[in-house]
Amino acid sequence: MSEKATKLLLRGGKILNPTTGEQTPADLVVVNGKIDKIGVIATSEFQGKIIEVPGQLILPGLIDMHVHLREPGREDQETITSGCAAAMAGGLTEICAMPDTDPACDKQEVVRFVKKRAEQELVNVHPIAALTKKRAGAELTEMAELQRAGAVAFSDDEGPVVNSAVMRRALEYAGMYNLPIIAHCEDLHLSAKGQINESIVSTRLGLMPIPGAAEEVMIARDIALARLTDGRIHFAHISTRRSVELIRSAKQEGLKITCEVTPYHLFLTDEAMTTFDTNLKINPPLRQPDDRDALLEGLIDGTIDALVSDHSPYSIEEKDVEFAEAPFGMIGLETLLPLVNTHLVKKGTIPLEKAISLLSIGPRKVLNLDIPVIKEGAAANLTVFDPSCSFTVEIDKFYSKSNNTAFAGQTLTGQATCVINRSLYWMSDAEKKK
């Protein structure tokens, strides 16, 4: 998969500054994992691996802060190795692993295990530890130890913390270490046996509905608790207009609130469910056009901090069943950047630099991670992106062990051709053939 190179030259690319949008044509040399030189480099003077990237964009390495890696526990769906491969192919140099594994990532041993398994990978894997023991919602995990072992946030993702008092204590305790709590907001009584968004579509299709309010009441609760505790909350995969509005106003108030959204909620609506495609069965569900529009507004005005894939691998046997029986979730590491480029950038909703910022700077700010900068002397953490190449999504070419995507056979535009992290690099097959 990835290869090692002590000296590496990226030739003919353009360096994108995600803050200003400025694109600077330059060659870039990496020596021993550090950016050694930026400028015009003659190939004749260079000894080492040369990668030609004419006209392509050199970006700070991208990150997906919401990934389910399944290891330990469900290695048939995904492993840390296969997940890292999928991430590379998607142009990501860092990912955050959700704690809903088996066993749950609720002890320092599990955090260390995940870190150890990812040690040799190009992709940095940052474990998100469970908020409560066994993710059961009752007792806090040993947050200080977990943090020292490498956890970057705490979450009981795939489910909410039902007990408000537990959430309050968690916010207070995690606040001592300045780590965010990632909240999956869902009132389980309201969502109950729901399958898709509650709207005219659920009425037509006869599928049990999940009202937007199931998310909104928990966001409102958690905002109240953030105010009470001065704690940091990052809201995972928000999906409704009211959620955006609640978060916008909480941010204006100065609370330590951030949030993320998936690309699916930004360009699809529940109307897509009429095919009963279980790959589109995700949680939170695809909502109405008005919700999608509000999420786009939140993306543009800065209410939303990060774009994430919520990569959720499931086997074909689990997904190829009656709609009501299928689990929620879709894989996304390899389609995150292409979907964002195709459906948000190419359509003119947000400029490329904004999209890249939401895939690199935004999430790292949420998690206090180092933000890669492209300058001489800095650590090499780079994604090379060809924004104009079109390709067809083919599930048998996925590096992920699962193929539960709703985008198979679709043509997308824009793909990562190469990623570099430390002294490791990876090139796409197409790039190698050049």
Binding site: S202, T203, G206, L207, V321, E322, F323, A324
Partner: protein, 309 residues
């Protein structure tokens, strides 16, 4: 004449022409059913599987009878457990059955979307006999046949559907079919049993049963299941009857003859009083007879067999 659809998955999107053809064909079959030997050889050599993943007595018997009246070979598969619990996937089950050379599948399942799923697994024509809370198209067709018989046309007819609209696939199919045929539809029931945004389908909504009775030419009264009370959707059966039960007293107050339908089985004294169910304005038993005729029509028209009835 033939249908423009290959399967009958629901009535959403089914054209007026197709519905009319099914109803007209059913009328001819009804005549056959009244003969001394109520059987025709039309589907001889065709095999139909009745795949029932959910308990059903009347719909299954109605389909079986329709198949026998058409001389089709039919086999039954019943299972009340879902494929996931059984260990064999639905796709495997249906492909195994298809490997035995079948032409049509009649399917009932507790999960919405299963008939559509089956169309992607096998080549046979699929007929939806009720999928979860989604659709139950043959029930709506037989309701429409009964109404057309009584009123001559569905155009402009006012039909109120009373009861549990949320969990009722009969309601959804009736709404789509009736609106396509030019009828007007009102739904009535406790707000807890009326699904979100249903008015966007083009129906009126009321929570007052007297208003529905006042407005309607015909009432289609749906069964109230006791388990809905357990789920907290209404406080008690008694209160349901007080607020939404169709009683003779309520009907008499309206000072007009209102046609009563019910897809069965009736909870007498809950959603419908006995004297109303058994009155001369009730179409309930005609519905059952028409059910066989409508299902014969659907089976014939989707079989690909060219036959004039």
């Amino acid at each position: 004449m033939s249908l423009s659809i290959k399967h009958l998955l629901g009535l959403e999107g089914v054209s007026r022409e197709d519905i009319t053809l099914i109803l007209d064909t059913a009328v001819s079959f009804k005549e056959i059913l009244s003969r001394e030997i109520p059987k025709v050889p039309t589907l001889r050599g065709k095999t139909v599987v009745n795949l029932f993943y959910e308990n059903s007595t009347r719909t299954r018997i109605s389909f079986e009878l329709a198949e026998k009246r058409l001389s089709a070979d039919s086999v039954n598969f019943s299972s009340s457990t879902s494929s996931v619990k059984k260990g064999e996937t639905l796709r495997d089950t249906i492909r195994n059955i298809e490997a035995m050379n079948i032409d049509m599948v009649v399917v009932r399942h507790a999960a919405a979307g299963v008939p559509l799923f089956l169309t992607k697994c096998v080549d046979a024509a699929i007929i939806n006999a009720g999928d979860g809370m989604h659709e139950h198209p043959t029930q709506a067709l037989l309701d429409m046949m009964s109404l057309r018989e009584k009123f001559g046309s569905l155009e402009g007819l006012k039909v109120a559907i009373v009861g549990d609209i949320t969990h009722g696939r009969v309601a959804t199919s009736n709404i789509f079919g009736l609106l396509t045929m030019g009828a007007q539809v009102m739904v009535c029931g406790p707000k807890t049993l009326i699904p979100r945004d249903i008015e966007k389908l083009g129906v009126q909504v009321t929570y007052n049963v007297n208003e529905a009775i006042e407005w309607a030419d015909a009432l289609n009264v749906l069964r109230i299941q006791l388990e809905r009370q357990d789920a907290g959707l209404f406080p008690s059966i008694r209160e349901y009857h007080t607020e939404f039960g169709i009683t003779r007293e309520r009907l008499e107050r309206a000072k007009k003859d209102i046609t009563i339908m019910h897809p069965g089985p009736i909870n007498r004294g809950v959603e419908l009083d006995s004297d109303v169910a058994d009155s001369e304005h009730s179409l309930i038993l005609q519905q059952v007879t028409n059910g066989v005729a409508v299902r014969m029509a659907v089976l014939l028209l989707l079989s690909g067999v060219e036959a004039s009835v």
